[in-house]
Symmetry: C2
Subunit: 643 residues, 2 copies
Amino acid sequence: MIRVKFIPENIEINCDYGDNLLEVARKADVFIDAPCNGNVSCGKCKVKLIKGKVDTKKTYHIKDEEWNEGYILACNSKVIEDIEIEVPSKLSSSMDKMKIEDLSTERDKQIFQRTKKLLIDNNMKLKSYVRKDYIEIDIPNLDDNISDWDRIKRHLRNYLGYTKVFCRLQMLRKIPHILRQSNFKVTITHIPRGNDRTTIVNMEEGDTTNRLYGVALDIGTTSVAACLVDLYKGELIAKASSGNAQIKYGADVINRIIYSTKKDGLDQLNRAIIHETINPLLNKMCKDSGVDKNEIIAFVCAGNTTMSHLLLGVYPDYLRLEPYIPTFLKAPFIKASELELDINPETFLYIVPSVASYVGGDITAGVLASGIWASDENVLFIDLGTNGEIVFGNKDYLMTCACSAGPAFEGGEISCGMRAASGAIEKVKIDRDTFKPNLKIIGDTKPEGICGSGIIDLIAEMMIIGIIDRRGKINKNINSRRIRFDEHGIGEYVIAFKEDYDLEKDITITEVDIDSFIRAKGAVYSGASTLIESLGMDFSVIDKVYIAGGIGNSLDIEKSIIIGLLPDIDRNKFSYVGNSSLMGCYLTLMSEDARYKLEECSNAMTYVELSVYPSYMDEFVSACFLPHTNIENFPTVKKILEV
Amino acid sequence: MIRVKFIPENIEINCDYGDNLLEVARKADVFIDAPCNGNVSCGKCKVKLIKGKVDTKKTYHIKDEEWNEGYILACNSKVIEDIEIEVPSKLSSSMDKMKIEDLSTERDKQIFQRTKKLLIDNNMKLKSYVRKDYIEIDIPNLDDNISDWDRIKRHLRNYLGYTKVFCRLQMLRKIPHILRQSNFKVTITHIPRGNDRTTIVNMEEGDTTNRLYGVALDIGTTSVAACLVDLYKGELIAKASSGNAQIKYGADVINRIIYSTKKDGLDQLNRAIIHETINPLLNKMCKDSGVDKNEIIAFVCAGNTTMSHLLLGVYPDYLRLEPYIPTFLKAPFIKASELELDINPETFLYIVPSVASYVGGDITAGVLASGIWASDENVLFIDLGTNGEIVFGNKDYLMTCACSAGPAFEGGEISCGMRAASGAIEKVKIDRDTFKPNLKIIGDTKPEGICGSGIIDLIAEMMIIGIIDRRGKINKNINSRRIRFDEHGIGEYVIAFKEDYDLEKDITITEVDIDSFIRAKGAVYSGASTLIESLGMDFSVIDKVYIAGGIGNSLDIEKSIIIGLLPDIDRNKFSYVGNSSLMGCYLTLMSEDARYKLEECSNAMTYVELSVYPSYMDEFVSACFLPHTNIENFPTVKKILEV
């Protein structure tokens, strides 16, 4: 038996000789970032050995200096004796500090109002899929002695027109007490289907129709965002967000799926999302708003197809293996108690249907919220989250595809990358003469890493100034201490010197990082162009471009065009639509009409499998360039570069 | 802390000073018969104090001799110091030894065949509400890459015509593995509603259509009987029965209801029926037949309205309180897992609907099995279980009522009464000269008490010979050592002297017992006559009388008429239909057509509340006589008595 201690949290755990250190940390519930899920490829699980020895190897992720200080990769180390490990605090806390739209900035408020307006513009009633009705039932006597349940059904038939009324066991058990305690004046919570059927899911004494609460939830691969909605007033009364606790098992869906195939892996992933992520968010919102968790009786959530599978505990591995088959796109109605969610156990969960293996419910919800389905104009919708999904269409048709962009837009697979949390560099401007970057940091604190929008800024700036060429390679002819090359000849640019900010080490971007990012942006650009070309059109037909997803508020459209992530068209056509998945869940929660529309969209969306398009691979290769091998596609960038 | 030890089982438990001994026994899970549930009225909870003292009082249930030997009533004793208590073994074991139709006697086989024939005579298809279908699903490929669930639905739509297909979470979780392990050749278990909808509840690899099992279960207040049915072959493959473990909380429904209002009472009663009664029966049948419990995926049960409430854990007290309202008559569909039944957790349980607060699903099932609904002739159906329920009708109408007969027909509230278990006297013939009874005892063992059919024989014989008069009072002029009177002048007849059978004490029937029984039989007779009179008819219109229920196989029709339990009409009109509730469950399980017919019957049955009939009370009082105050109603008995 060997003892491992993790600081600064001072968590201790016993393990066996030869156990993998990353696995041991997971067992101890110590969060170590591991986007590649232990493949020794991302180098993110770097920890510091304080006491004792491990069986490990130096990799190119660890510099000589770091190696001497005791840095090792947790995934590449075996425990062989009692040790003490320091886990970098920025990692262990990054999950809680996720910066996700809090709907309090002016832009967020506008997005929210614009989304709500969709309901009104399209004559959608503000009636949730869950309803409350206050009823005063005839009191039984010897001449009218039908059963309680028949009495309730009779009332609903005579006064509300429901001829088929159902309930479940837990509800049945409540009836005798509540009816009599309330003198047969009760409020029922029910879920109608059509005009004649309904299922009663709850019953309360007296008139509680003004207390009806629901939750909208977006389950991202990286981050999870929720809002608590007063369905009676139609108001948002609490919100919460955090990282997805599954991150410890892998940064992207592929690594999560691989983890799910391990012993207990699926169960651990399921517990991570429900017990370690969603329930804490629900509890926080209840606390903040003073709403009892049993009063939350509507729930709409959306996530990509893998997230939906993991939420329900459905084995996702066939999503990853050819021919890439999901177990389901549209989930059955499920009770909250079946997933152990901390809301009323009888709540029927509505999980937004996915479109394909890699176009999930989050995109369906995003399409609903962005209103493409009602648009006369041609809209290109791009979700830049942990992957990139694209929708193109208007009120007549909706085409969609998925790009294997990986987690780059959320800082994954970039050595100094991090999520858009406190300490993340979100904007960069490099001085043309000194090559010194001017940084904007989330939380106005000292920098810890760089997030998606910052990387876009950084690469655009480096290219414009000439620090990198259009292949992303660092110019060896620049004389600056910020530009340096390691023993293998790999170049890097120092974004922040440790001495300037009192850091443990410099924050740098390497050619390897830039290459990763170029491939990610190339995947999105070529995906969009292939999708549009599949209809025999080109970017010129686009009237609007909506950018959604976790890349965040600070995305600079101009810079995104400069690096060739977005097409070089009129800047006025672009707008950022925020977390459209969450907004779509909110609409679905608020209005049964919206839910029907959502399902209509999900059925109407035509999935285009990029890999079967012969032109896609060529297009992708051409797009793995700054901004593109064919500079003529980017006339305004061409002009800038010619200056 | 005081220690109580129960022998012969040697169970010890700690309790507090002043605790009620009956409650302590229940806590220790020691079975003490307590039909009146601790009201000090039945005298059945007699136990023997071996060591120590208790705070108790002598009641008229305990004779001087018994008192001297240490007999006390558990319900009337407070624990005040460490004690040792002997629990009479005939009581503690009577639950297991219940003699219930095992369908192996010639008469039982006939009943079973006659019941099955009903299906054929009425063109009912042998198709259960649960079906299995073997399907070979198209294997996915890159061009046909819809989700597993959509693929299953497409197959069912194209090949079986179901346009709406549902499933539940547990089922969804099985899909990816089972489809691939079976190469997409699977058997689905599903529950259709109409021709176009169905819900899949299970999926198995390969063709398992020949393995489809269901359980039919009759939940009596006193005893529970079950059979395991091979639904593929339509054969009964195992059966089991036992006492209802709720007996320790009271012998009849009223006492059970009262117990349910105590702290944890409802939960204890629910646990007693499910975990201590039904699950052991299910496990036994699985063991006997070699069927895996997960293969049992159909379940139909029937019980009186109180039993149904307790099975589902629904508070039953409003059944007992005016205006006597049940929470439900027709239960919602419930999953086996919700009740923790030891069968496939996804099984949809079908609970036969009740008709009124005191006419339960067991009667509905009995009506189905007895075929009254198809009869041109007028049928009187009498269920002599723990209570008496009566149905009168034919294919055009069905009237029903309940009599408060109490548990007398199953030996309850009779001092020497016991259930029809091993050791029970089931037939009695008294010698006209010596007054010595000739006893037939279940199990051909030494007598321990007397069951319902034995009491009927005994009272009829005593009346004919003149040991009792028509009021049930013992003739003081007979000179026999079998007839004796106690200090209060209450007479008794000795059925068995202890020395003749090596018993602890004599088995006797007292005037109090006879009085109890006369009231019970009076309630049934007057119920039947009031029910028929309510239609403006009398007993002469009856074409057939079916006797069902726990009174058992040995019921003597002639003697039942002699004491005035049954009307004095042509003996050929009577027949014993056995446990018609179990038979009705079996039919409901076997045939969806039968289940529709059952629901039709339940809706068609008109409940007559006897207590609101002004003539009922007079009729009851007149019937509390042997056979009746108006002997002219019993011409054949009149003749016998005149001899």
